[in-house]
Symmetry: C2
Subunit: 360 residues, 2 copies
């Protein structure tokens, strides 16, 4: 079977997609560390980080140390009113992400937020209106696909027809709680939105990407606190299922139960079942890998009519979303991710969270 | 981490549990090949197979060749009326399993059927009544646990508290269709009962076993034919979710989409998430194992607070159910599996199938 490796990825160059100065952006509301990856990847794809800003100067300084050519802005207004700034990247407290986005759009700039993009359907509605009114983008860094090479490679394989028509997507997203290192907002439901709204947003996005469905109905949702009485508003477990408008389905489980003994933060998996085969991603570790080695990421397993294949794609795929987003901002296209896709993923996780909340 | 292997199984002897002649049984209605494993394991555990019978003499002869001391009965009556026979093992067409069981119980013998034990809730109701009336057992070979060493080992680990309280059970049961080799009844829904009723019965049983729930509510169920128009009554995909009376939940997917290139018939998995760790069973193959090797079965992966462990338990656990069933039949105990557990698993898969049927 080792002879028949049809689907080994061809490593691709990660070159800037534009000339220096073609795409200038800023970073503000640095509440979640995800902002580092978002900024790093935009810079690597050709973006110029002009400003960083946070009400907490330490957070701004910390990001600036990594990007020393950026200036620390004196105020949000300095960023919002600078015509050089085409896009604002931010990782605010989740419940504040929409308000910031509405401001950014109102100032004629595109917005790129950490996930989850909203904590209520009302926020989503407001953002939809603002996008229509302003013509600007409300983009979201659904990082469990956009910053994961195995997840991006799976999409290529599916789009190439390797597993036929997608029937089902099954995603498991365990995370290490690490409670002591988390900010206060992390444990307040009104601020983080609930576990399905939060880490379930990744899963909803991956469902749409892999299944090709353009919308989906939530068929089951549940969220609860099993074992963290000290944090009564934390949901440490959530799950939901969907049926898409193309007949495919999805089931997703998310939790804060990664045990301390696992060698990485979470054993995230995605299994995509198609009519002609299936793909399993062991994204951050493979429990079957040698025990005394560091976690091996981006494991892609494929089974088709022709055989089985195993690919480890770290460093081979890169993060094509970021260059595509920059070009979308410059050229006003939607090749990285359509606004509809971004918002539909948000709608699914918000609807599932709502169903889970009603059921408690 | 390799130093800290706490959970390596101690290989146990598979000795007969009774003296020759203490437990005599018969096998009839040999419609599904599962009867071979059921009989072999009862014999290995100390049972004596006195008769085999099927309306098709070839099927009876084939099983007799494997157990040459057994006689081919002249009729079902010869078996049912022989006071030596304590139990009848059978793998009838699913829709006929209950009728046969009712006859067996009415003749004062215990019944051991291939899964699925019923194709309707009405049958289950009749069997419940018959068990109460006769005091006999209506047992079922839920083989994806009872004939799987990794699955039985997982139960031991859970019962030992290795992963704390069980929060969720996630089971995936893909199977190779192999349509040409299947009998006609396999494709007639009234006879096989639907994919959730059929292969979902394994999943319902494993949910109860691992979660410790004593009952469960079906929260979502779906079954459909995605890609087999030549067999319109075949459901090639099914899924359902449950919430147990102890607050745990389960999600299960079953399908006939194992691609021809997979080195075994199905990549069955069970993942059990607990408050203190999790266990993943890669039951029949590990996609990450060396490609040019035969499928390695019974892979047990454990992650806890203390670290990760990997155990391959083929030949180490055996199938303790069969000896326990024999002793239960002799001593009128319920140590192998309670009648309530057996019937509750059936109820769950039948209720899920009904929900899926109503939704089509």
């Amino acid at each position: 079977m080792t002879d028949g490796m049809h689907y080994a990825p061809i490593a691709r160059a990660q070159a800037p997609v534009c000339a220096p100065g073609d795409f200038t952006f800023a970073a503000m509301s640095l509440d979640h560390g995800h902002i580092y990856g978002m900024v790093d990847n935009l810079v690597q794809a050709g973006g110029v980080l002009k400003y960083v800003y946070d009400t907490d100067p330490k957070k701004a300084e910390s990001l600036q140390r990594r990007h020393p050519l950026a200036q620390i802005a004196n105020s949000p207004e300095q960023i919002l009113q600078d015509p050089d700034v085409m896009l604002v990247a931010a990782a605010a407290i989740p419940s504040l992400r929409c308000d910031l986005g509405l401001q950014v759009l109102a100032h004629g700039k595109d917005y790129f937020t950490d996930k989850t993009p909203f904590t209520s359907l009302d926020q989503l509605h407001q953002a939809r209106q603002a996008v229509l009114t302003t013509g600007r983008k409300y983009a979201c860094c659904y990082s469990e696909r956009l910053q994961n090479e195995s997840a991006e490679y799976a999409l290529e394989l599916i789009n190439d027809g390797v597993i036929g028509d997608v029937i089902q997507v099954l995603g498991v997203g365990p995370h290490r709680l690490n409670a002591a290192a988390r900010p206060d907002w992390f444990f307040r439901k009104a601020l983080y939105g609930g576990i399905i709204c939060d880490i379930g947003s990744h899963q909803a996005e991956q469902y749409l990407a892999y299944s090709g469905a353009s919308s989906a109905t939530v068929t089951m949702a549940r969220a609860t606190n099993f074992a963290n009485p000290d944090y009564p508003e934390l949901e440490d477990f959530g799950e939901f299922s969907v049926v898409g408008d193309n007949g495919s389905s999805g089931y997703f489980r998310m939790d804060w139960f990664t045990p301390d003994g696992l060698r990485t933060w979470g054993d995230g998996r995605t299994t995509i079942l198609g009519t002609k085969g299936y793909i399993e991603l062991r994204k951050y570790v493979d429990l079957g890998q040698q025990l005394d080695q560091p976690a091996r990421e981006n494991n892609v397993y494929i089974a088709t009519q022709d055989g089985e294949e195993q690919h480890q794609v770290t460093g081979k795929i890169g993060f094509p979303f970021f260059g595509a987003l920059i070009l979308d901002c410059i050229e006003r296209t939607e090749l990285a991710m359509s606004q509809k896709h971004c918002f539909t993923a948000a709608a699914i996780c918000l609807q599932a969270q709502q169903m889970a909340d009603l059921d408690r």
